[in-house]
């Protein structure tokens, strides 16, 4: 891995911001250079949300991702429409097929379709759809290990929410399996 530039997008509440922070945190634990840049706007709930994460072996230049994204994780249709064009040729796009019926329109990128909400419901919690998507991304790119993400999760959750760690770990693994 040289430099991974990932755009994560969805609607507010799908956990795209925390998914990005988690990957950033895990990158830091693995001594990589990282940055996390959110979009921010006046809307507090229900709007679109996206963030740009860079994980690199060398110092991060601009934290902004323009048309050079190596990956995009899109959780809803507007995000696919908006960010497909930011991928560079040969990049990976992971599409939440539970909520997006449309296929990727570009042929020069690798598209993966993950029914994230369905898998999340199977393991008992719709809220971990973001972890399913992240698991799939990690399986494809090996930017950081799932174990490191779990370690990051333990730190982010704090003592009161440690009981949520196994569910999230399962979600990451199910996501990884879905693209194997």
């Amino acid at each position: 891995m040289a430099t991974e530039k990932i755009i994560m997008a969805g609607f507010g509440g799908q956990g795209v911001m925390s998914m990005g922070q988690l990957l950033t945190y895990a990158g830091m634990i693995e001594n990589k250079q990282v940055s996390w840049l959110p979009s921010y706007g006046p809307e507090m709930r229900g709007g679109t949300a996206n963030c740009s994460v860079i994980v690199s072996d060398t110092p991060v230049g601009s934290p902004i991702i323009t048309e050079d994204a190596t990956a995009a994780i899109v959780m809803n249709l507007p995000s696919l429409t908006k960010f497909e064009g930011n991928l560079k040729s040969g990049g990976n796009i992971i599409i939440n097929s539970s909520l997006i019926e449309k296929k990727a329109s570009r042929t020069d990128v690798n598209a993966y379709y993950v029914p994230a909400n369905e898998i999340a419901n199977e393991i008992g919690n719709n809220k971990v759809a973001n972890m399913i998507m992240l698991g799939a991304y990690l399986e494809l790119t090996k930017v950081v290990s799932i174990d490191t993400v779990v370690e990051a999760l333990k730190k982010v959750f704090g003592p009161s929410k440690q009981d949520l760690v196994p569910l999230n770990k399962e979600a990451l693994e199910r996501g990884a399996n879905s693209v194997r």
Partner: protein, 353 residues
């Protein structure tokens, strides 16, 4: 100490606390809200005080009062809010009190927008308030630098008895990067024997004041301030030179824009075009001397800003007419892309041939 992943606004707050700041007075405005929120959460834990003022005007005047006691104090805001603080900043500079003011800036004029912008260059470096005064302006490009400069800002403010501004665009406030809290280099700091802490009946009263009705007395004060500002210009200039070797076009950019420019420079060099960067870390004092280190290969300067061109005035002053000065900027919260910057460089080189 281990690295921690933090949002810029919170990292700046943590840096201030690390520097011994226990008092914060502020007012909500996007995109700096996580900073006062962080202070309201953390300061009570260390026996400090957070006050949400009724306005930015009140907040900076609370800073004026608190700084008068000799305490380390900070306020933060964003562009329109910093405009409101200019009255207090002028008084603080006039009365020679130390304090740190953070501007996580956004687009303007007026209410403008809330996306990243560098349109407060004039406001920061020319003084938005009245009178003959100056203050140091630090412009970090990364969160680590924001932390380091915030910590140092308190020492510098105390050393010179002068307000210090830390300016970051919305990206610096909102992004997350790993940061480490290091000890700054030690400065010998003067005693704060001027502070209003009560005479205890042991000394003459101290007076914090910016009024001098006698013109001769005020001029004397102006000359004294000017001497101090010259001292700051001599000692505190900071800048970074990036890939200046054989540079044909030398770009000048600060803050997060400089990071985008670095990406553009790397890509240009891969294409065989030699470009370099002067990155001012202090906007005032401006790094004029960096322009003496520009290699003979340089054909032009290019100021890249997230504004319609404000720093370019200082670039022209520093350049002293030696090279043609070009400009590329985006405004209103639009962010320059490396590709557009590369195109501009190619256009300049093409035009020069």
């Amino acid at each position: 100490m281990d690295k921690v992943l933090m949002k810029g606004n919170e990292a700046i707050g943590a840096a201030a606390i690390k520097a011994g700041c226990k008092y914060f007075f502020g007012y909500p405005i996007t995109p700096q809200n996580e900073l006062p929120e962080f202070m309201s959460r953390e300061l009570p834990k260390i026996d400090g005080v957070f006050v949400q003022a009724e306005s930015e005007v009140a907040a900076i005047n609370m800073i004026y009062g608190a700084a008068g006691t000799g305490a380390r104090v900070m306020t933060s805001s964003s562009s329109p809010g910093v405009a409101l603080k200019q009255e207090g900043i002028s008084y603080i500079a006039g009365a020679e009190l130390p304090c740190v003011i953070v501007n996580i800036s956004r687009g303007g004029p007026g209410l403008g927008g809330i996306q990243p912008s560098q349109a407060d260059y004039f406001q920061s470096t020319r003084g938005g308030g009245n009178g003959d005064y100056r203050h140091l302006v630090y412009a970090p490009a990364s969160l680590q630098e924001a932390v380091d400069l915030t910590i140092e800002a308190f020492d510098v403010a105390d050393y010179y008895r002068n307000p210090v501004i830390v300016i970051g665009d919305g990206m610096i406030g909102q992004m997350m990067e790993p940061v480490e809290f290091k000890e700054p280099k030690k400065r010998e700091l003067p005693n704060k024997d001027w502070a209003t802490t009560g005479t205890k009946g042991e000394r003459r009263p101290n007076i914090i004041n910016s009024l001098a009705l006698d013109p001769a007395e005020l001029e004397k004060h102006n000359i004294k301030l000017d001497k101090k500002y010259k001292e700051i210009e001599k000692n505190e200039v900071r800048y970074e030179m990036y890939k200046m070797d054989k540079a044909e076009v030398v770009m000048v950019a600060y803050g997060t824009t400089a990071r985008i420019v670095k990406n553009a420079i790397d890509a240009l060099r891969e294409e065989g075009i030699n470009a370099g960067l002067i990155r001012p870390i202090t906007l005032w004092p401006f790094p004029n001397k960096a322009f003496n280190e520009i290699p003979d290969t340089a054909k032009a300067l290019l100021s890249v800003e997230m504004s319609m061109g404000q720093m370019i005035d200082d670039v022209k002053i520093a350049n002293e007419g030696r090279l043609p000065v070009h400009f590329y900027g985006r405004a209103g919260g639009m962010i320059p892309t490396p590709e557009a910057i590369m195109d501009k460089v190619k256009e300049i080189i093409g035009g020069g041939k």
